[in-house]
Amino acid sequence: MIAPFALLSRIWHFYRDGFRQMTWGRTLWVIILIKLFVIFVVLRLFFFRPALAGMDEQQKGEAVGTALTR
């Protein structure tokens, strides 16, 4: 039976060593991080504001109901 702390330590070392020993994976991580930045910061903040953002559930229902019956 492994103690919880020892288990967490092993998991931590597993990931740390894995990332340290990466070769071609480093390039991929750079691409992933740039992509996530573009998706979640550039696109999400500046271009994709949900049309019903800021409304509560009832207001959203009202807004869509009005749009569908207009």
Binding site: V38, L68, R70
Partner: protein, 496 residues
């Protein structure tokens, strides 16, 4: 004022173009992930059984290509969810509860499953036991496949909505039967058809890359062994694609007959309906067999569906005008309900009952003329032929690759090497064509019979949507270029 008169048609066109672009790019990455996951799982299983390091190195090579594809493709599907909220806000709210559950399950279970086991798969060689590593490799693939399941459940629901009730109070469809949504026959068939298409993509990719090695006279042992595994996997996948394609045809004939009629360019239907190979060349009775498994089965054409028809066994189906009249009743009742629900509960109850009686035609209330119910026939017709034609050609290429490898003649068959390389773009075109049939073929519906695109779209400026469309073209093309460059480099530099 009518919703349709205040919407700029360009908003719908740009929004659908943007969604189509995003979905098409996303589908460049997904099938290879699904296919390579299966093939590397099989290869590592052989390593586990034989304890031969050659199979470990072979599995590791394909895992590297899997990793490149996974890294570039991951999260591209999230943009579709952004588009739902921004460009298709009416739709998003209207389906919320039905879409929310499958997508939440997909996000939580499958994503974390992939994220956990993919780390063990890449970092765990020589650190965890062989059995645990093998399990992690398979669980990575199973996680990706489960993701596909929930996404396809959501898509299948749009094609054939089941297991829900429309609540006019909240203006949402609410799930009343989770199992009916999660395991609807449409979802099951769509899942196996789509996933087996992914397996076929992976197999064709592995055969193609291996044949490139043979063409360059490099990594001979890896190439021959990979062709053996991939060609058999690809042929099994092709058989599943064909079987589920047949089941899909039956399902479409029953639930989306307009899509089938458009895919065949069939204006006037009937019994012993012919299957069109290309315009002017038909196989008599074949469409009836494909659509109903009966040579005398009745298949309605586009005109029959618009004008209404009666099958030989006496079943009568309403015309488009009849459905539009019921749709307008449903819409009027919905408006009436919303107007009176607080001030006059009795009248609201009557309106609600009227709405429920016609809710199956709700979306027809937004249709202006029957011709709007016909999807672009030429696009669906030719996409279907492209999908089936290329699929058949790919099957022949896989059979030839397996046969030549089996007979020990693959190494010197240069024509086969070129054919296998050409098969890589072909399998992608076939997959994309399949999605065009599925999605363009169901136009004008966002949700079949319940919500057309002109009601589903958000009211926004077309300029903004056009801007993000071109932004996506740039972002996705850059990602694709990165994928192809890194992938080619990894293949070129590989020395087994």
């Amino acid at each position: 004022m009518n919703l349709l008169t205040i919407l700029d048609p360009a908003t719908i066109d740009w929004s659908r173009a943007q969604f189509a672009l995003t979905a098409c790019y996303h589908w460049l990455f997904v099938p290879l992930t699904l296919g390579l996951a299966l093939i590397m799982g099989i290869m590592e299983t052989i390593y586990y059984i034989k304890r031969d390091d050659f199979w470990k190195r072979t599995a590791q090579f394909w895992m590297k290509l899997f990793g490149i594809n996974f890294a570039i493709g991951v999260a591209t599907g999230l943009i579709l969810e952004f588009e739902f909220g921004t460009n298709w806000s009416n739709y998003s709210w209207f389906v919320g509860d039905i879409f929310g559950a499958p997508l939440a399950i997909e996000g939580i279970v499958a994503f974390f499953m992939e994220a956990t086991f993919i780390a063990v798969m890449f970092f765990g060689w020589n650190k965890v036991s062989r059995g645990f590593h093998l399990a992690s490799t398979w669980l990575t693939g199973i996680g990706a496949t489960l993701s596909a399941w929930w996404i396809l459940v959501a898509n299948a629901w749009m094609q054939h909505p089941v297991g829900m009730e429309f609540n006019p109070e909240t203006v949402r469809n609410e799930m009343v039967d989770f199992l009916a949504v999660a395991f609807s026959p449409t979802a099951v068939v769509k899942f196996f058809h789509t996933v087996s298409c992914g397996w076929m993509t992976g197999a064709v990719f592995v055969v193609g890359v291996s044949c490139w090695f043979l063409l360059k006279q490099r990594n001979r042992q890896l190439a021959l062994a990979s062709v053996k595994v991939a060609s058999i996997t690809g042929l099994v996948a092709t058989l599943i694609v064909m079987f589920t394609g047949d089941q899909s045809g039956i399902s479409i004939a029953r639930e989306q007959p307009m899509k089938l009629a458009a895919a065949e360019g069939l204006r006037q239907g009937g019994t012993q309906a012919p299957f069109s190979i290309v315009p002017g060349i038909e196989v008599p009775g074949m469409l009836s067999i494909l659509a109903t498994h009966d040579p005398n089965g009745y298949v309605p054409g586009i005109d029959n569906l618009l004008q209404g028809y009666t099958t030989p066994d006496g079943q009568t189906f309403p015309s488009a005008e009849d459905k539009m009249a019921r749709g307008r009743k449903a819409l009027a009742a919905f408006t009436d309900f919303r107007t009176n629900r607080l001030s006059d509960p009795a009248r609201a109850a009557e309106a609600r009952a009227e709405l429920q009686a016609n809710v199956d035609c709700f979306g027809y209330g937004y249709i202006q003329q029957p011709a709007d119910l016909v999807p672009p026939v030429w696009l669906v017709y030719w996409s279907f032929r492209l999908m089936v034609g290329l699929g058949s050609l790919l099957m022949l290429i896989l059979i030839a690759a397996w046969w030549l490898q089996h007979k020990g003649r693959l190494e010197n068959a240069r024509w086969m090497h070129y054919a296998a390389l050409a098969a890589i773009p072909m399998v992608y075109v076939a997959g994309q064509a399949g999605w065009v049939v599925a999605e363009v073929g169901r136009q004008p519906w966002a949700i079949q019979d319940l919500l057309p695109l002109n009601a589903a779209v958000s009211q926004m400026s077309p300029t903004g949507v056009a801007l993000t469309f071109f932004l996506f073209v740039v972002v996705f093309t850059a990602l694709l270029a990165a994928e192809v460059t890194i992938m080619c480099k990894a293949i070129k530099n590989h020395q087994a």
